[in-house]
Amino acid sequence: MNVIILLAITGIFSMFSGIFKQKMLALPVILLAFISALVLLSLGYLGDFTALTNNMVLFDAHAIKFSMVIVFLSIFVFIMGQYYYSEDIEHLTDIFALFVFSIVGGILLVSFQNLTMLFLGTEILSIPLYILAASNRRSLASNEAGLKYYLMGSFATCFLLLGITLIYGAHGSFDLDIITASITAKGLSSLFITGVILILCAFIFKLSAVPFHFWAPDVYHGAPTVLTAFVSTVVKVAVFGALLKFMLFIGDHQGEKWTILFMLVIIATMIFGNIVSVRQTNFKRLLAYSGIANVGFVLIALLAINDLTSSYILYNLLAYGIASILAFSIYATIKTNTGIDTIEGLAGLMANNKLLSISLIFAMFSFAGIPPLAGFFGKYFIIVNAVNSGYIWLSIIAVVSSVIAAYNYLRVSAILVSHNSEIAVIPMSTLYRIFLVACIICIVVIGILPDHVLGILG
């Protein structure tokens, strides 16, 4: 709880630092706040707010783990953002503030214990994102991204609300515990089921899984790259946290049909994401689609929920997150310096920009799931879970689709080293070099020591 307060205050501070022309302060303070939040979370100093919360939010282990990953990834995003936004941009601090608010929303989301908080958390998470997506005012792409995100987001919100209300109608409360109790008392009603379905639809939308994926590629493509990185990593963690919690909540009452729904969604998502990206020429869009595909992969973990599921999901999201933040930041660097945004344009990057290319190759191979990089284990644990739960065919489909995915990443890595053309040296600040190296180290270390990471996460 005090993490939320801390972060909220940090956001406000960042706004005021903008107002009082102290932009320099914003980022260090925010990073400091994040680190201290991490410390608080990891040490469990969360304060005792039970008197106030009356079971609105609950900071159990689940919430803490997800919050930790959220904050951890946010640190990377902010460092990347520092490099992405030039100092003199208007509203820099406001943008940072919005990011922070959105993170607050995320943490609320993963710690929700009451459908009201689910709703509010979703909104607090999303509304800043709508704004940030459109925050690049003069670029039509950004406007379009913002509009699409906003419209479809609020459209989805309507369904979410309807769902929540129906559940409320069924059991006369928003509190998960009470609802569970009354379910055991009264049993399931079609009101409840319909409500759950609508809420799941909203979740699927937020996760940009088929059939509610349409916004994702366009928004990812149009929005400022930092936001894209943020949406495809941090937000996903938050939403998965909430979804997992929700599934646990309805878990006892889920039968065949949930599984069938999820399987359909999973297969459709993986195949869509991977196949469509085969023809993709724009690098950023490619990453967007790969994000969609990865969501499909992670959803597999929800088919067989056990006490390890959350750590597997987190591991995958962490691995995927770092790799994709790395990839997005590299994309942004190349785009801002040379204006290249196509895959073919990357030809011959290796010639003069060794570090960039090597880190990109690491990211790509992590995506492609090449052992022993993080991405491999991210996929591996989920496959193990699925196979142990008897979803052999699903895992075979997953494997085949990930071969298709591998094609895309190999395409990129193959183009990097081609001799035909060259890209001039791209200037990079020391901070950024450190950032790249740090990302590579994370990818490798998380991969080589999966046990320790799981230990932290589970």
């Binding site: 009201t116 709703f119 039509l140 406007n143 906003y150 609300l161 309807l162 409320y168 928003f174």
Partner: protein, 112 residues
């Protein structure tokens, strides 16, 4: 005041289903509006209508459950609605500045 009470006593008779299905109808009308208008303003309006129907549903449920939480929830729905609308309209104005139209399909350069 007592006639008010009497009014209430009679009003109680309307069964809940009516409210539920009315809300569903309103919700669907709103959705239809979202689907069939290209004018951004109308789309916003339709979304407002959907939210409203949900509000009505929540209130109805809260009354029939004798539970104030539902009505409290409606407050938050309003809050969110207000915030969303504010953001949305601001975005609309900005976009209108750039493209001089409120057609939602005016912006479709991001595709495939």
């Amino acid at each position: 005041m007592n006639n008010m009470a009497g009014l209430q006593d009679q009003l109680r008779l309307v069964p809940l289903e009516h409210y539920v299905f009315l809300c569903i109808v309103l919700f669907c009308i709103g959705m239809t509006g979202v689907l069939l208008r290209r004018n951004l303003i109308n789309v916003f309006l339709s979304i407002e209508l959907m939210l409203n129907s949900v509000n009505l549903l929540a209130v109805a449920f809260s009354v029939y459950h004798n539970d104030p939480n539902g009505q409290a929830f409606v407050f938050f729905v309003m809050v969110v609605a207000a915030a969303e609308v504010a953001v949305g309209l601001a975005m609309l104005v900005m976009i209108y500045r750039n493209v001089r139209t409120v057609d939602i399909n005016a912006l479709n350069q991001l595709k495939w």
